[in-house]
C-alpha cells in the first residue's frame, strides 16, 4: 500500500512538472507582456520593472525561477495588483471555489445515483421515462445556458433566489444547480444502465434465492457493483466541474479562484497564471488519486495492497 502510494505520488509530481513546463512555454510564447500596455510607459521604468520581475532574464533562468517559486510555494506578488501576493489571492479565492465545487459534486453524485437507481428499479415505467428525459436534457444543455436560464427565470422573473455573489446559502442554490445538472445527468444514466446490468447477474439471483429483501439486494449486493463504472468516470467529471467553476463563477460574479485565473490570463499576470494553474492542477491530480483509492476500496479484485493469494 505504502509503496503504491509513493509510486503514485512520484507520478503525480512528474505530471505536475509537465503541466508547469507546458504552461510556461505557452505563457512566454503568447505575444505581449504584463508591462507593455497602451499607456506608454517610459523606457527606463519599463526596464526597471522587467528587471524587478526578472522578465529581462533569459527564458531558462525565468523557468528555473518559476520552478523555485513552485517548490517553495511562494509565487510572489501579482504584477497587476502588486500589493497582493498570489498566495493571498489563492487564500481568498480557493475556499469559495472549493465550496462551490464540493457541494456540486455531492449534489451531482447523490442525486445522480438515486435517480439512476430509481429509474433502473422502475425500468421502462413512467418514472424511468421521466428521469431519463431529464437526464438527456441535463447532458445536452451547457451549464452556462442553464445558468442564464436559471437567473432569468428564478432570480429575475420570480425572484425566488438572489442573482449573484456568494454571501448566503440562498446565493449558492442557482450556481450549484447550474454546475451540478450535467454531471448529475451523466451519473444518473450510467448508474441506471450498470444497475440494470448488475440486476441480471447470477449473484443477484443467488441473493434472491437466499430470501433477502429487495432493499438488501439493491443496496448491499447491486449498488456497489453498479457504482464501479461511476467511480471510473468521476475523474473526468471532476475535471469538468472544475473547469465549469470558471464559467459559473464568472456568470454569477462569485469571487472564487476562477475569477483570478481568467483575469490573470487576460492580463498576462505571470505569477498569478502560474500560481492558479499549479494550484488547480495539483488539486485535480490529487482528486484523481483519491478516486483511484476509492476504486481500490470498492473493488477487492484491484490489488492496491499485496495481501492474500490465489488458491
Amino acid at each position: 500500500m505504502l509503496k503504491y502510494i509513493l509510486k503514485r505520488l512520484l507520478i503525480m509530481a512528474v505530471t505536475l512538472w509537465i503541466i508547469v513546463t507546458l504552461t510556461f512555454v505557452l505563457m512566454v510564447s503568447i505575444p505581449g507582456s504584463p508591462l507593455n500596455e497602451e499607456r506608454g510607459t517610459n523606457e527606463t521604468v519599463q526596464k526597471n520593472l522587467e528587471a524587478h520581475y526578472n522578465l529581462d532574464e533569459p527564458y531558462h533562468i525565468q523557468y528555473l525561477l518559476y520552478l523555485k517559486s513552485i517548490v517553495t510555494l511562494d509565487f510572489g506578488p501579482s504584477i497587476k495588483q502588486p500589493n497582493q501576493t498570489v498566495n493571498d489571492l489563492l487564500g481568498r479565492g480557493f475556499p469559495i471555489s472549493f465550496e462551490l465545487g464540493i457541494v456540486t459534486i455531492l449534489v451531482a453524485v447523490f442525486s445522480g445515483i438515486i435517480l439512476g437507481i430509481v429509474a433502473a428499479l422502475k425500468h421502462n415505467g413512467i418514472i424511468d421515462y421521466m428521469a431519463m428525459s431529464l437526464a438527456v436534457l441535463g447532458i445536452s444543455i451547457p451549464n452556462f445556458v442553464l445558468a442564464t436560464l436559471l437567473i432569468q427565470q428564478l432570480a429575475v422573473k420570480y425572484e425566488i433566489f438572489p442573482v449573484a455573489t456568494w454571501s448566503s446559502p440562498a446565493h449558492m442554490v442557482l450556481p450549484i444547480i447550474a454546475l451540478a445538472t450535467g454531471p448529475m445527468a451523466i451519473i444518473a444514466r450510467l448508474t441506471r444502465s450498470t444497475m440494470l446490468e448488475v440486476l441480471t447477474q447470477d449473484y443477484i439471483k443467488m441473493a434472491r434465492a437466499k430470501g433477502l429483501s429487495p432493499w438488501k439486494i439493491v443496496f448491499k449486493h447491486a449498488l456497489k457493483n453498479a457504482l464501479m463504472p461511476v467511480v471510473t468516470i468521476m475523474g473526468t467529471l471532476l475535471a469538468g466541474i472544475l473547469t465549469g467553476t470558471f464559467v459559473i463563477e464568472k456568470i454569477f460574479a462569485i469571487p472564487g479562484m476562477g475569477k483570478y485565473f481568467v483575469e490573470s490570463i487576460n492580463q498576462r499576470d505571470y505569477p498569478v497564471i502560474m500560481g492558479t494553474t499549479v494550484f488547480y492542477s495539483a488539486f485535480l491530480i490529487f482528486m484523481l488519486f483519491l478516486v483511484d483509492i476509492a476504486y481500490g476500496i470498492l473493488d477487492p479484485r484491484i490489488k492496491i495492497h499485496k495481501k492474500g493469494g490465489e488458491s
Binding site: K205, L212, K220, N225, G308
Partner: protein, 334 residues
C-alpha cells in the same frame, strides 16, 4: 414415503415481442423426502424454468406461472405472496446455480455472503452465525475456514467457489435443494468431487435434491429417480434403473444412446437428429414427432396420454397403446 414437493400441471409462459413462449407446458412430478430427482433433457427444454418456478424466481414480466400448483408440505407455493415466499427461499428451499464464477458477489467477502442468509432468517448473534459458517465450510471441505471467511470470491478457484455456493445454500438447513447444472462449468475431476460432496451432504443432512443436468453421467452417479423433459413436458419418469435399463420413450432411448460410455471409448456418439420444436407454437401432438423414428399419424395430431408402467415409471408415448404394441409385436414376428 413422505412427499415433500408435488408439482401439478405446471405451465410457465414468457411474453416476448415475438410472441408467447410456452416454456413449461403441463409438468407433473413429485419429490420424496431424502431422495434425489434428476431432471434431464436437451438445452431449452424448460429445466431451469421449472426449477425457477418452484423458487418463484421467474422474472415477471416477461414470465408468468400461468397454471398449475406447486405444493410444498401441503402449501401451494404458486399462491404465496412475494413476502411469504421470501421466508421459504433459502430457508426451506435453496438453490444452486450453474456457474460458480458468477454466483458469488465479487465485492463482498465469502463470510458476509455465507452468513447473510442465516442472519436474515434466524435470530442469532454474529458469533453464532460465524460458528455455523465455519461448520458449513468444514462440511463442504474448505481448508482454513477461519481465514477463508475474510477473503473475496476472486481468491478462490472454481471448484472452491462451488463448494462455497453449496455451503451458502445449505446453511439454513433447507429441506429441498435445487441444483441447476451444478457441475457443468467445472472440469471433470472437480465435477466428480462435487458430486461426491452432494452424496455426502445428503447422507449427513437428509436434504432432498432436485438435480438439473443434461449430463447422464452425473445422473448415473447420484440420482434416485429421473425425469426426462422434452419441449416443456416431462415425457418419461422412473427410477434410475427403469430409465437406464427399461427406457420406453424413443427420446429417452435416443438420449441414452448419445451418452459417451467409458467402456466404448472411441466409438462414435449417435446424437438424435433434428432439433426440438419451436416453443412459440408447440405442436398439439407429441412434440417429438418430427424426430421420432416410430412416429405415426396419431402422434402428430393428439398428445399421447400417460401410461403407468410401474409405481414410479410413467411415459407419454403412443407406442404404449395396446394396438401399437400388438402391431409392433406382429412386425417383429415376420
Amino acid at each position: 414415503m413422505e412427499k415433500i414437493l408435488d408439482v401439478k400441471d405446471l405451465h410457465v409462459t414468457f411474453t416476448t415481442y415475438g410472441g408467447t413462449v410456452k416454456a413449461v407446458r403441463g409438468v407433473n412430478f413429485h419429490l420424496n423426502k431424502g431422495e434425489t430427482l434428476a431432471i434431464v433433457g436437451e438445452s431449452g427444454c424448460g429445466k431451469s424454468v421449472t426449477s425457477n418456478a418452484i423458487m418463484r424466481l421467474i422474472p415477471d414480466p416477461p414470465g408468468k406461472i400461468s397454471n398449475g400448483s406447486i405444493h410444498f408440505h401441503g402449501k401451494d407455493l404458486v399462491r404465496l405472496s412475494e413476502k411469504q415466499m421470501r421466508n421459504i427461499r433459502g430457508v426451506d428451499i435453496s438453490m444452486i446455480f450453474q456457474d460458480p464464477m458468477t454466483a458469488l458477489n465479487p465485492t463482498l467477502t465469502i463470510g458476509t455472503q455465507l452468513m447473510e442468509g442465516l442472519r436474515q432468517h434466524k435470530k442469532i448473534t454474529g458469533e453464532e452465525a460465524k460458528q455455523k459458517a465455519l461448520e458449513m465450510m468444514n462440511l463442504v471441505g474448505i481448508p482454513n475456514p477461519e481465514e477463508r471467511l475474510k477473503q473475496y470470491p476472486h481468491q478462490f478457484s472454481g471448484g472452491m467457489r462451488q463448494r462455497i455456493v453449496i455451503a451458502m445454500a445449505l446453511i439454513c438447513e433447507p429441506e429441498l435443494l435445487i441444483a441447476d447444472e451444478p457441475t457443468t462449468a467445472l472440469d471433470v475431476t472437480i465435477q466428480a468431487q462435487i458430486l461426491e460432496l452432494f452424496n455426502r451432504i445428503q447422507e449427513a443432512t437428509g436434504v432432498s435434491i432436485i438435480l438439473i443436468t443434461h449430463d447422464l453421467g452425473v445422473v448415473a452417479k447420484i440420482a434416485d429417480r429421473i425425469a426426462v423433459m422434452y419441449a416443456g413436458k416431462i415425457i418419461e419418469v422412473g427410477t434410475k434403473r427403469e430409465i437406464f435399463y427399461q427406457a420406453q420413450h424413443p427420446y429417452t432411448k435416443g438420449l441414452l444412446k448419445s451418452v459417451p460410455r467409458l467402456d466404448l471409448q472411441g466409438e462414435k456418439l449417435t446424437p438424435i437428429d433434428g432439433t426440438p420444436p419451436d416453443l412459440f407454437s408447440p405442436p398439439v401432438g407429441c412434440p417429438f414427432t418430427a424426430r421420432c423414428p416410430f412416429a405415426m399419424e396419431v402422434c402428430d395430431k393428439v398428445y399421447p396420454g400417460t401410461t403407468e408402467l410401474s409405481d414410479a415409471h410413467k411415459v407419454d408415448c403412443w407406442l404404449q397403446d395396446e394396438r401399437a404394441k400388438q402391431l409392433l409385436a406382429s412386425t417383429a414376428n415376420n
